[in-house]
């Protein structure tokens, strides 16, 4: 831009003595202007290029982010931060008909009945040999305790399992190296479900118990089953990680409120200098189950499964669970003292180091798996807690990271010997070396970071290109939108020695934990593009317009309807009467990728439908008045989408209008 030919240069120099001085001055001003003044200046010049994914190009990673109190899971592309999809899981989603269509309603059934809204905290990708396998992702419902399995071929929730004996399923859905088990540890200890819970709250120490579910995952179908539960003393379980490689067969859970307080926990559960990380030898627990040491307990919980063949969910109420009492069976559980209400409890890729993050602490303890084994063998204990041996702190400790920051929460790993810990109170990410426990780098976050994510950061083989910080406070990061703001996530390039912030992106709900996987691992997993119409076994499917019909069964009317660009069959229905319940079973006859049809009818009190190619979905509609009700396709499908419509005539109860239906039949005008 500053290339001048020699003639111009000559003229320029003759005239510009003073001006050249002025240029130097302004250049110096610019130089001074580069000094970061505020958070927006913490970004260096090439950040945009690093986060830029050109139109039509794909991202490098999928990022599966918990939707927090929205109850859903969102999927982003990285490094662009593009929102790719919101997967409805534990909350109804009118956009997709989730929880509104007759087929999906059973997915949100529980022992308490239908629950339309829950709180999703953590995500866990399925693994084989400690590496992400791209099959499923699991999620936890925190409020009414449940686990969900999402099929990554369809990006849909395939299964939801309720958890008995639990209150606040927070320490979940963390999994083992081959997804043998997904665990679910209760946040609230509560009286077990099979005893009378109508007891004084002040009887906590006596009556309240913790339960941790080990949910097995069938390797091919993914079907979940509560293999067993561990009954523990009453404490709060927070987070967990499996052992890997050398420590495979073990699981580690952070515990707080070892004070066993039941009121004003922010003070009363912060009394002790140390709480615990509970180490669980789950292989040993398996042996006890095999040996018949488990006690059968009568409980009540729902198990919901969605079928991609019948396009219908079923909800089954289960009535039994097998429980191992870890105070009676001495060698399953061990407590390791850990400073100040630990949140994160993270195991490095080698399986040797267990990092506790006491959220009120100013240091990070790192425990050694080998030392823990030696301590157990030598019975190097400091007494017991509720019948469970407490290993001596120093006996299990590898070392402490001194003065890393304030309020460590959660740690992920890069597989190159470094750990990255989030600090809520001091709003920063700190990179430190696992071997020498020295801080290597630190970057600010905006603001008050919770969890971190490195793709594969909880596996044997992380892909350490990016790190994402999921923040709890947004404040001034985006244009203001009134009192409620989008949640803030920040992307850092961690491929070099120094972490570099390259992008802010908003997320839905409150992102707690998130995981990420290389894009190819997911997109080449056999992604489903359509449901084959020939395989559709829905009870009310109409596989072709010659199968469409309207059938009355008492006051129930079943409409076997099809949709294709750009009409419904039938599109005129008469003879519906007040008091009828009408079920529109709409089959989308399209067999091409990305051609869903929608269905809406005036006055529908629940929602609309969105039907994928080859799928059948049902909308229940109870007309509330006599008259003419338009129906139409709600998802733009073709140039003639606006013509994709029809009418339903509703007559008074007892009317003699016959039930008729038609498509394309032109009847002479009547009055």
């Amino acid at each position: 831009m500053m290339v001048l030919n020699s003639k111009t240069k000559l003229t320029f120099m003759k005239k510009m003595v003073f001006q050249s001085i002025a240029v130097i001055f302004s250049a110096l001003m610019m130089f001074a202007g580069c000094k970061p003044k505020n958070s927006a200046d913490a970004v260096s010049g090439d950040a945009a290029a690093k986060a830029y994914v050109a139109p039509g190009k794909y991202d490098e990673f999928y990022n599966f982010v918990s939707g927090g109190f929205s109850g859903q899971m969102s999927v982003y592309g990285l490094p662009s931060g593009r929102l790719l999809r919101v997967i409805p899981v534990f909350s109804v989603d009118p956009e997709k008909g989730w929880g509104y269509s007759e087929e999906t309603k059973p997915m949100l059934n529980t022992s308490h009945g239908f629950i339309p809204w829950d709180d999703l905290h953590h995500t866990e990708l399925s693994q084989t040999n400690g590496e992400i396998n791209g099959k499923w992702i699991f999620a936890n419902a925190n409020n009414t305790p449940r686990l969900a399995r999402i099929d990554l071929k369809t990006f849909r929730t395939a299964e939801i399992l309720e958890l008995p004996n639990s209150g606040g399923n927070h320490s979940s859905p963390f999994g083992t190296e081959n997804s043998e088990y997904i665990v679910a540890g209760t946040r609230f200890s509560v009286p077990p479900d099979d005893v009378n819970g109508d007891v004084p709250i002040s009887s906590y120490k006596q009556n309240f118990k913790g339960h941790i579910s080990f949910v097995s995952v069938e390797p091919t179908s993914g079907e979940m089953k509560i293999a067993f539960q561990l009954k523990t003393p009453g404490v709060n379980f927070d987070l967990a990680r499996c052992g890997r490689a050398k420590s495979h067969g073990w699981f580690f859970f952070s515990c707080y409120n070892t004070e066993q307080a039941n009121t004003l926990l922010e003070v009363n559960a912060s009394q002790k200098d140390k709480d615990f990380i509970m180490a669980v030898n789950w292989k040993k627990a398996e042996e006890y189950i095999k040996a018949g040491k488990g006690k059968k307990q009568t409980v009540k919980y729902a198990h919901n499964v969605y079928s991609d063949v019948t396009h219908t969910a079923t909800s089954t109420i289960m009535s039994e669970v097998t429980v191992l009492d870890v105070a009676e069976l001495k060698d399953i559980c061990y407590f390791i003292p850990c400073p100040k209400s630990p949140h994160g409890c993270d195991v490095d890729p080698t399986g040797e180091y267990i990092v506790g993050s006491g959220k009120l602490a100013a240091l990070i303890p790192v425990f050694s798996f080998d030392k823990l084994q030696q301590a157990i063998a030598a019975k190097s204990y400091d007494g017991d807690f509720g019948g469970i041996p407490v290993v001596k702190y120093e006996a299990a400790l590898y070392g402490e990271v001194k003065k890393p920051g304030l309020g460590p929460l959660h740690t992920e790993f890069d597989g190159k010997g470094n750990a990255y810990t989030s600090f809520f109170v001091s709003s920063e990410v700190v990179k430190w070396n696992i071997k020498d426990l020295k801080v290597v780098d630190r970057v600010p976050t905006y603001y008050s970071v919770g969890h971190l994510c490195i793709p594969g950061g909880n596996t044997r083989k992380p892909s350490p290109k990016y790190l994402i910080a999921y923040n709890k406070i947004t404040k001034d990061r985006y244009l203001p939108t009134g009192p409620e703001l989008a949640q803030s996530a920040q992307l850092y390039d961690i491929s070099g020695d120094k972490m570099q912030m390259i992008l802010d992106f908003p997320t839905i709900g409150e992102p707690h934990y998130a995981q990420a996987a290389p894009a190819d691992l997911i997109r080449n997993n056999g992604q489903l593009k359509i449901f084959k119409i020939a395989d559709n076994k829905h009870h009310y499917a109409a596989k072709g317009e010659n199968e469409t019909k309207v059938v009355r069964e008492g006051n129930k009317v079943h409409v076997y309807m099809t949709s294709i660009r750009s009409h419904f069959s039938p599109d005129n229905i008469e003879g519906i009467k007040m008091g009828d319940e009408v079920y529109f079973h709409v089959t989308n006859l399209e067999q091409d990728w990305d051609v869903p049809h929608g269905f809406g009818i005036k006055g529908a009190a629940n929602a609309e439908l969105l039907i994928m190619p080859g799928e059948t979905q049902t909308l229940k509609w109870t007309p509330d008045r006599v008259g003419m009700f338009p129906m139409y396709c709600t998802d733009f499908c073709s140039a003639l989408h606006q013509e994709m419509q029809g009418y339903v005539r509703v007559s008074p109860a007892g009317s003699n209008v016959p039930l008729t239906f038609s498509l394309g039949k032109v009847v002479p005008e009547t009055k």
């Binding site: 500053m2 240069k9 000559l10 320029f12 120099m13 510009m16 003595v17 050249s20 240029v23 130097i24 250049a27 110096l28 610019m30 130089f31 580069c34 260096s44 010049g45 090439d46 290029a49 690093k50 830029y52 994914v53 050109a54 190009k57 359509i530 084959k532 119409i533 020939a534 596989k543 072709g544 317009e545 010659n546 199968e547 099809t562 294709i564 660009r565 750009s566 009409h567 069959s569 006859l589 399209e590 067999q591 091409d592 990728w593 051609v595 073709s638 140039a639 003639l640 394309g664």
Partner: protein, 160 residues
């Protein structure tokens, strides 16, 4: 003296360029030339269309294969009949009567299995799109499905 000014000028520019470091390192994706959307008139055979099928791999007898046609009819009912009548009447797409006399077997099988590329370049397909205004959807037909549907179309056209 001029040389001094020039040096000064050069220094100034250098400071300007380097003062903020890393500022102009634009590494946004490589610039690929857009592929031409204009069909290659030389290579495109409007009698055959574009796809897997050609006169070499589509064998059609003078007589009807009733079994193939019967299988074809079932697929037609599910995947085609919503939009096509068996008469000459246009519904969403054109009526099928006479289609096997207007088009080569390989053209039909290519079009129904590979509609999008053909709607972009085939003169006859483009002309029909201008009439119907709904792009023929890809209904994910297998090669066998396409052959069976062709046989059903022949039956519809009176082949015995």
């Amino acid at each position: 003296m001029k040389r001094v000014y020039f040096l000064l000028f050069t220094c100034t520019i250098s400071i300007l360029i380097f003062s903020c470091g890393q500022s102009n390192n634009n590494t946004a994706g490589s610039s690929e030339k857009p592929k031409s959307m204009v069909p290659d008139a030389e290579s495109y055979d409007p009698k055959r269309g574009e796809g897997k099928f050609s006169a070499d791999n589509v064998k059609v007898d003078a007589k009807l294969d009733a079994a193939l046609a019967a299988t074809g009819e079932k697929i037609v009912n599910t995947k085609c009949a919503s939009c096509h009548k068996m008469s000459t009447e246009k519904l969403v797409g054109p009526g099928w009567a006479g289609v096997t006399t207007r088009r080569k077997p390989e053209w039909i099988m290519n079009f129904i299995t590979n509609p999008d590329p053909m709607l972009n370049k085939d003169p006859e397909a483009k002309a029909m799109l201008e009439l119907c205004l709904v792009r023929m959807p890809n209904q994910s037909l297998t090669d066998d499905d396409a052959r069976n549907i062709l046989e059903f179309m022949r039956k519809n056209d009176g082949i015995k």
